[in-house]
């Protein structure tokens, strides 16, 4: 059983489990699934700076912070006790392309050749780690949700604005992967 759990889980197991989070949150306490809002709550708690967008009763939203705190703990549990000792299997074509940029370590959840404390102080690492993160935080809030809030929760509730947002997420991702990222990785 444990051996089986340690293998990478297939999509048809993981997808439905993630989908079930939607009714689980609704049934537990009338909460709608969304993760990027936690970033807003952190702003509201730490640096509201009298900005109206951050002036609300965040104490009512602490459930969201418990939820993301749980995700972090879940990451620890999975890495400590359920880890698959083998490196990530990636598409041979991707491996070949990445090797050209010096990415050869497949042991981490993120490529250690790109995302590490040493890399942070290089131009490439700074763009990947800091600029990338900024765009995730800025973009999700501007769009009013992320993959969980729009693509999963919004689409589950058949909301067409969420479909627009999801399509834009994908377009942005394709543009970055095909047109821009190769130039960043070359740095």
């Amino acid at each position: 059983m444990l051996e089986w759990l340690k293998q990478p889980w297939p999509w048809y197991v993981a997808g439905p489990l993630i989908g079930l989070t939607v009714p689980a949150l609704l049934l537990l306490g009338n909460k709608t699934f969304g993760i990027s809002s936690s970033l807003r709550h952190i702003c509201a708690i730490c640096i509201p700076a009298k900005i109206p967008f951050f002036r609300y009763d965040w104490k009512k939203e602490t459930w969201n912070l418990f939820f993301v705190g749980g995700i972090l703990l879940g990451g620890i549990v999975a890495a400590q006790w359920l880890a698959n000792p083998a490196p990530v299997l990636v598409h041979p074509q991707l491996a070949e392309e990445l090797a050209a940029y010096g990415v050869t370590d497949y042991n981490g959840i993120v490529p250690r050749d790109l995302f590490s404390w040493q890399e942070l102080f290089t131009l490439r690492g700074f763009i990947l780690i800091v600029v990338g993160g900024f765009m995730v935080g800025f973009g999700t809030r501007y769009a009013g949700g992320c993959t969980s809030g729009h693509a999963i929760m919004g689409l589950s509730n058949l909301q067409w604005p969420s479909l627009v947002a999801t399509c834009c997420f994908m377009i942005g991702g394709f543009v970055m992967t095909w047109l821009i990222l190769p130039h960043i990785l070359q740095l």
Partner: protein, 176 residues
Amino acid sequence: MLVKEKVRKTSLKKEPVDTDYEVRSQNAMCVNESTLDRPLVSNIKYGVLGIFFGIVFVKAEIVSWFRIQEMFKLQSFHMYGVIGSAVVVGIISVALIKKYNARSIEGEKIHLEPKQFHKGQIYGGLIFGLGWAITGACPGPLYAQIGAGATVILVTLLSAVAGTWVYGRFMNRLPH
């Protein structure tokens, strides 16, 4: 058409802007629909659900930078399968909840707020998409990556908080 437009405009003017609910629902996807005041300890159940969710994230390699690259390079069906099947299960669940007027375990009637369209879903969506392909993570996976030992992602998370703050600071000047 004209009348409709007029009605829309007047209703916009009348809208209260500073009540707590308005501010919260203005943008956040995770509007907390519950009006019950619950003690802090009641939040533990969401923590437990989060742990379960984080394990799924890591074990299905949804938080793997490589899987996101494969998705955008159309080299693997994995992520499409995950998101697609999650949405199908979500649609069925929400439809059942609506059909049977289900209540939460705290006895509240479950209520889902419809999403309002604004241009931010396009501009913001594109910006997030660009960032997603760089970091290989949307906000949820960032937390799981840190937990799974990629400690430098803490910097990415802080940067995402900064991005959220900058949006909040300048949102009035952005097209919506």
